[in-house]
């Protein structure tokens, strides 16, 4: 690739769902989850391009834009977001590696919008989480194990090469601790008619709560204490 490829966004689709119950006792408030999906032209369709990594920088504004759209669609502040995930569906003239371009701009873009700051990864240092009201972790201990920031956990992902209208199950985990069992979830999404052969669908997902009838024990949100993104 000799010069940066422009990101041509053809279509954006948002999906919001409120789950009131799944045949069990309905909680006081429904579970709200949302996905934002951008259909873009695949600049590498139809050929093997060895040097694709620079396109990740071009995609960064898209990651931020989809994350912001999610907050609008959810009608929620960053601090209310408790789970997230990401995915990509590559059209038939592309390759799976084109989907992998989304990891950095999608994952870090979304984490940035939710209050993550570079250099604040594991427990210890205390970061300024200005703009993040009520981080979506535990109520926040003080002292040695204070929450060092928000969106500390890796963003789980799936990717595939698929036909127009292909569905993808986007994994969801807690934004601060991947092992929180109640928030291990997934949401099925698709864009009717996309991706065409020369397109890629890049997807971000946010959730405001645990599974609707979560009751399987394991690490609970209020037990997060290592702040290493896992526990």
């Amino acid at each position: 690739m000799t010069e940066p490829q422009r990101v041509a966004v053809r279509r954006v689709m948002t999906h919001v769902e409120d789950v009131f119950h799944e045949f069990g006792p309905a909680p006081a408030a429904p579970l709200r989850r949302a996905a934002a999906m951008a259909v873009i032209a695949n600049p590498f369709a139809g050929r093997y391009e060895p040097d694709i990594a620079p396109f990740m920088d071009e995609l960064k504004p898209l990651g931020l834009d989809l994350a912001q759209r999610l907050l609008v669609a959810l009608d929620a502040s960053p601090g209310r977001v408790m789970g997230y995930g990401k995915a990509a569906i590559v059209g038939a003239a592309g390759e799976l590696e084109h989907g992998a371009l989304w990891h950095v701009p999608g994952g870090y873009g979304m984490r940035e919008v939710l209050g993550w700051q570079e250099g604040v990864a594991s427990g210890g240092a205390t970061a300024d989480v200005t703009g993040v009201t009520g981080p979506a972790g535990a109520t926040g201990g003080v002292g040695a194990n204070a929450q060092p920031g928000n969106a500390l956990a890796i963003v789980p992902s799936t990717k595939k090469v698929g036909a127009p209208g292909a569905t993808i199950d986007v994994p969801i985990t807690h934004v601060n601790a991947s092992y929180v069992r109640s928030h291990l979830d997934a949401i099925e999404v698709r864009v009717p008619g996309a991706p065409a052969a020369d397109e890629v669908v890049y997807i971000l997902v946010m959730s405001l709560g645990p599974r609707i009838h979560a009751r399987l024990g394991g690490l609970r949100v209020e037990q997060i204490e290592r702040w290493d993104g896992q526990r």
Binding site: V9, V16, D18, F20, F23, A29, T167, P192
Partner: protein
């Protein structure tokens, strides 16, 4: 059926749309999608076309039995016309009068019958939907089918004030991965603030609408 009275729609929950008072429909899930098209055939669509579809997964009170009187479903249709219509308008971020086209559809789970979709869609839904989009001289185009989990339905779209506006003949797919279960119905309403992305097949244009008879 495991879900009936105890899962009735809560009036106090987050998903409440202003002005709506659902009374009867037992809603398990609401899904709202907005589809924004910015480019078609590498040409910019300016302004982008935007279509919203709002879906409710409801308990079918007549699942598994034949009932002569389907009035309860008609009332559910009246409620959902308002609820789902408002959800679409809110999701599009427009004033009601800025809505341009609309459509409706239902997918009945296998313990129900096609007539259940008709009872929701036809007698009372149109009136409440039209209130949410400001006006609506034209027929609300519709589709219905029986289906299972993940069944998709193409919701037809037509201009709200003149059915013959050719640029607004369209459709949008509605689908929910985990519905309808056998005893459920998926009800969908679609609203747009635009027609097709690059319309160029002639016919009646928006600027030519008289808006009296619902046709032209």
């Amino acid at each position: 059926m495991p879900d009936s009275a105890d899962c009735a729609w809560s009036r106090s929950n987050d998903g409440m749309v202003k002005g709506e008072v659902p009374v009867i429909a037992a809603i398990r899930k609401l899904v709202v999608q907005v589809d924004e098209i910015r480019m078609e055939m590498d040409r910019a669509v300016e302004p982008p076309t935007r279509r919203a579809v709002a879906m409710a997964v409801i308990h079918n009170p007549f699942a598994g039995r034949y009932a002569e009187d389907l009035a309860e479903l008609m009332t559910i249709g009246e409620e959902l016309g308002a609820l789902l219509g408002a959800k679409c308008v809110t999701a599009l971020g427009i004033r009601p009068d800025q809505a341009q086209s609309y459509g409706k559809a239902a997918i009945v789970g296998e313990s129900g019958e096609l007539e259940h979709a008709a009872a929701i869609l036809h007698p009372k839904m149109g009136a409440t939907l039209r209130r949410e989009v400001g006006s609506g001289a034209a027929l609300v185009p519709s589709a219905k089918k029986m289906g299972g989990l993940g069944t998709a339905i193409d919701v037809p779209l037509g201009h709200k004030n003149a059915a013959f506006v050719r640029s607004h003949f369209d459709a949008i797919e509605a689908r929910i991965g985990d519905a309808p279960r056998a005893h459920e119905i998926v009800v969908a309403i679609a609203v747009t603030d635009s027609g097709r992305p690059l319309p160029r097949v002639g016919g009646l244009k928006v600027g030519e609408i008289v808006g009296q008879d619902g046709l032209r």
